[in-house]
């Protein structure tokens, strides 16, 4: 049995739970479309968390039951949501002022690629035939105090999405502070990538090998 077979990779739900553990009570958080949205399911419901949706909601609650769907109350992924007591509405200008102005504490996003210095590529595959669409990705990337990327480090074909330099079109420069992945948690910054934690049975050497980037352990 090879070492790789024993690596305890996190599945998507475990990953969402892991991210949720690092979101302190009282944080203002924007959870990106797709997998990041799942993080909400693991926030401690005994505490107060403030979920922001760029279409003008602060204090988003969980999805409604079928009888209470209101299509005027949707999240950025255009799914029906609810509003907590204490939530409120505002227009798109104010909503993006919250982001751009540095008022959102944490933004959680997916990515195609992230560089060791925190450059983010998550809006365009670079395929010249693709219809480009950016939405709020660039605003979220540079606005929040901390940007967490939540992704598998390796593609299905084993390529690393953590890279020295992004080859996909950039969303923002030096904006990602941390990656949460199936293999562990990695801090990014001007000094490069530092491994904060790894899943069981994974070694730094092995992680370096799989990603092909220079990794050190965080102090």
């Amino acid at each position: 049995m090879s070492a790789a077979d024993t690596i305890q990779r996190l599945d998507k739900q475990q990953l969402a739970r892991r991210v949720a553990r690092d979101i302190p009570e009282g944080a203002y958080v924007n959870l990106g479309i797709g997998l990041p949205t799942q993080v909400a399911n693991y926030l401690d419901t005994a505490g107060d968390y403030f979920l922001h949706s760029e279409n003008g909601i602060l204090g988003m609650g969980p999805a409604p039951d079928e009888d209470h769907i209101d299509w005027d109350l949707i999240n950025a992924g255009k799914q029906p949501v609810t509003l907590l007591n204490g939530g409120c509405f505002f227009h798109h200008g104010d909503s993006f002022s919250m982001m751009r102005g540095g008022h959102i504490d944490i933004c959680v996003m997916g990515a195609y690629q992230v560089s060791t210095r925190g450059d983010l590529a998550n809006w365009h595959t670079g395929d010249p035939d693709a219809i480009p669409a950016v939405g709020g990705a660039m605003d979220l990337a540079i606005g929040a105090k901390q940007v967490f990327v939540m992704m598998n480090l390796l593609t299905k074909t084993g390529e690393s999405k953590l890279v020295e330099h992004c080859t996909y079109p950039l969303t923002g420069l030096g904006c990602v502070s941390r990656i949460y992945s199936e293999l562990g948690v990695i801090d990014l910054g001007p000094d490069g990538a530092k491994v904060v934690e790894m899943v069981d049975n994974l070694t730094l050497e092995h992680l370096r090998e799989m990603t092909g980037v220079d990794l050190t352990m965080a102090q």
């Binding site: 760029e54 003008g56 299509w71 109350l73 798109h92 219809i131 669409a133 660039m138 606005g143």
Partner: protein, 227 residues
């Protein structure tokens, strides 16, 4: 007596010209002035510039305008969606210009237009393809891109309630682009579900003051305005 209410969508859209730049509120289905867009489809103006977050889906609304070859340019943040077939076809055929703008820059540029600023330095997009060729500047240690206002000849907005002076309130996340587009349109045309007597909207809770609104048409919740 000033009464900004008009009776029909057609009356609301009077004067809309070929070549006009039209802002359209809405995010998802919420806050989309569907009947006003249908009115534009019926009205016939072509060579239009559409400024909206998306570029339409299916065969209705903005998608119908694009499908009919009436749109020259789209300024939006997210044209690619399930069902955005008409946009894709025209765009791939080179018949439709796209100005792709990050959603927050779209909002900020609309706000700049409404509030009379000449340009703004925004951090969003710096170092990306969407800032290529644009003026940039380091201010206080951070990099910014210079972006210009986006103005519109006509803003089409959906709100929840109005009074005859054009004061508006919205409903939940259907507010989205409505208030800022209302400020940026040379003529702002609003469809609402109800028009309340003057003085019944709480002055503390008016979201769009009537000064930003030119015409109001009532579209009952489930129905259409009189033709």
């Amino acid at each position: 007596m000033i009464d900004k209410q008009v009776r029909t969508v057609a009356e609301a859209l009077e004067g809309l010209q070929d070549g006009a730049a039209i802002m359209i509120s809405g995010f998802g289905e919420a806050g989309v002035p569907a009947e006003l867009i249908d009115g534009v489809v019926a009205q016939g103006a072509c060579d239009l510039t559409i400024i909206s977050n998306n570029a339409g889906t299916g065969d209705v609304g903005i998608a119908a305008l694009i499908g009919a070859g009436r749109v020259r340019k789209v300024i939006c943040s997210y044209p690619r969606m399930v069902g955005s077939r008409h946009f894709e076809e025209r765009y791939r055929a080179g018949e439709l210009e796209l100005e792709l703008v990050p959603q927050g820059n779209l909002a900020a540029r609309i706000q700049a237009a409404g509030s009379g600023l000449g340009a703004i330095f925004t951090p969003t997009g710096y170092g990306t393809k969407l800032a290529e060729g644009k003026e940039t500047r380091e201010i206080d240690g951070r990099q910014y891109v210079l972006e210009y206002p986006i103005q519109a000849d006509v803003a089409l907005v959906k709100a929840y309630k109005a009074d005859r002076w054009g004061n508006l309130v919205y409903r939940k996340a259907a507010r989205n682009f409505g208030p800022i587009m209302a400020m940026a349109g040379k003529t702002t045309i609003v469809q609402v579900e109800d028009i309340d007597p003057l003085g019944t909207l709480d002055p503390e809770t008016v979201v769009t003051p009537g000064i930003f609104v030119d015409r109001i048409v009532r579209i009952a919740d489930a129905g259409k305005a009189a033709a």
